[in-house]
Amino acid sequence: MRLANRDGTKRLHPWPVRVMHWVNAIAVIMMVGSGWRIYDNDPIFTQINFPVPVTLGGLPSLAYHLHGDGGFSNALLWHFTFMWLLVLNGVGYVAYGLITGRFRRMWWPIRPREVVAAVIDALHLKLDHEDVTTYNAVQKAMYVGVLTALIVIVAAGAAIWKPVQLHWLVALFGGFQGARLVHFLAMVAIVAFMTIHVILALLVPRTIKAMVFGGPRVPASQPTAHLMAGE
């Protein structure tokens, strides 16, 4: 796997990053859609329900006609299928980010003062998007935040799935309903991130193009170059 060119440059988003990004997008959408249908069966907050059309699980009347269940089992089947895609892809992504140094290079350091300054700039619509190769402090915080939310949602999901085999994990979340609440709140964080992420990407379409085709060539900086060259 050679990601760096002979001239010592590589794409801003090497192909593994792009593949894992879009696989993750699909997995998250499927997990959220099916999760909403599952949630509706026993809402945590009685005033919060997800309308059937935005959930994944089929038309209730058709589903009931076909297999005697109004789509809840469809949602469960989706959820417990795409969890594998989400987790396996996520493990690959985190391993890649750590091993190649991408996380450190792209997301670090995050300085609180810079985050505040960037937020103030953003509120004044003054954020500079000319250079897509570096992230501002808010972007860094958002990416680290959503990755954290994804790790938390998987951990809480595991606790809900296996509350006996993993009862220490349930205890960590303050009980079974605590794990459900954390699972829900992490979903809210992820959906909020995705909403902002998609809006901003549409405002600066070059970022979308970069995540599809790889973006501009950047110096294959340390320690990436060593690892990628197989040294």
Binding site: A63, N74, W84
Partner: protein, 262 residues
């Protein structure tokens, strides 16, 4: 690779059953061929068109059920038959327990205890039916455990009765058989793996919080296991069947995961 370690007291000697997967092998084949392609194409359409839901496409559903069959195996591998589920204090017990069935509580038909009997069939030496009073002659066990419903709700319940393991030993069941199946007065069915049946916290429950089970909660005898989701706990049991033939169940037929372990 889910052949179990032979070190446990509670594991069946025969290892984990391959038949569930064999039975689903056709589905797995479909998954490999058309399923993935169709699924991928449909998925693309789905993510673009909210409201266009492919869940009930026969091929998609078949592929999802194939993954569910694989999840049975993963769960069997994750299951530790020596691990006891957490137990709770008496003052945490919900009284009465939460009613749940595939119909509302006013449709519950009371059982006539004078004529009720439990059939014991399949790979057992003693096929004599059991009467309610027979359970009182057996060793008793009480567990204060969490009931976890697949929908997401839960409660702490105080269940007592005869360990299913003791019952199976008493009737001379083949403990190396794969499955223990249940048929119920209301037509409900379910089945569990033998490893789960032999777990110490799997009871044929006759009492809740020290009182005989009420009509809505499965009187006179129901299954209550700490290691499975709620729908794997059949109520109003009228037949227990020990078998090597895999059978699905009421909700499992409708797409719920068969293993249902927690």
């Amino acid at each position: 690779m889910v052949r179990r370690r032979p070190t446990s007291l509670f594991r069946p000697l025969g290892g984990v059953d391959q038949r569930v997967l064999k039975r689903q092998s056709q589905l797995v084949t479909q998954l490999n061929r058309r399923g993935v392609l169709r699924g991928a194409v449909s998925l693309g359409a789905l993510t673009m068109l909210t409201g266009c839901d492919i869940s009930d496409d026969e091929q998609v559903r078949g592929a999802l059920e194939a993954v569910s069959a694989l999840n049975n195996k993963v769960q069997a591998a994750l299951f530790d038959p020596n691990k006891l589920a957490p137990t709770y204090a008496v003052d945490q017990v919900l009284k009465p327990p939460r009613y749940n069935a595939y119909y509302p509580v006013d449709k519950v038909r009371p059982i006539d205890l004078t004529t009720w009997q439990l059939a014991v069939t399949g790979l057992v030496q003693d096929q004599r039916p059991w009467r309610p009073a027979d359970f009182a002659t057996m060793p008793q066990r009480e567990d204060i455990i969490r009931h976890v419903c697949v929908e997401g709700w839960d409660y702490i319940g105080q269940w007592s009765g005869v360990p299913l393991r003791a019952f199976l030993e008493k009737v001379g069941a083949d403990l190396t058989a794969r499955y223990v199946g249940f048929k119920c007065f209301d037509g409900y069915t379910s089945s569990i793996d033998m490893a789960a049946a032999l777990h110490p916290q799997t009871l044929l429950a006759t009492h809740y919080a020290g009182e005989p089970l009420g009509d809505p909660f499965g009187a006179p005898v129901r299954l209550r296991t700490a290691i499975k989701l709620g729908y794997k706990n059949p109520k109003w049991i009228t037949e227990i069947l020990v078998s090597n033939t895999w059978r699905n169940g009421y909700w499992e037929d409708r797409g719920y995961n068969w293993f249902g372990g927690i």
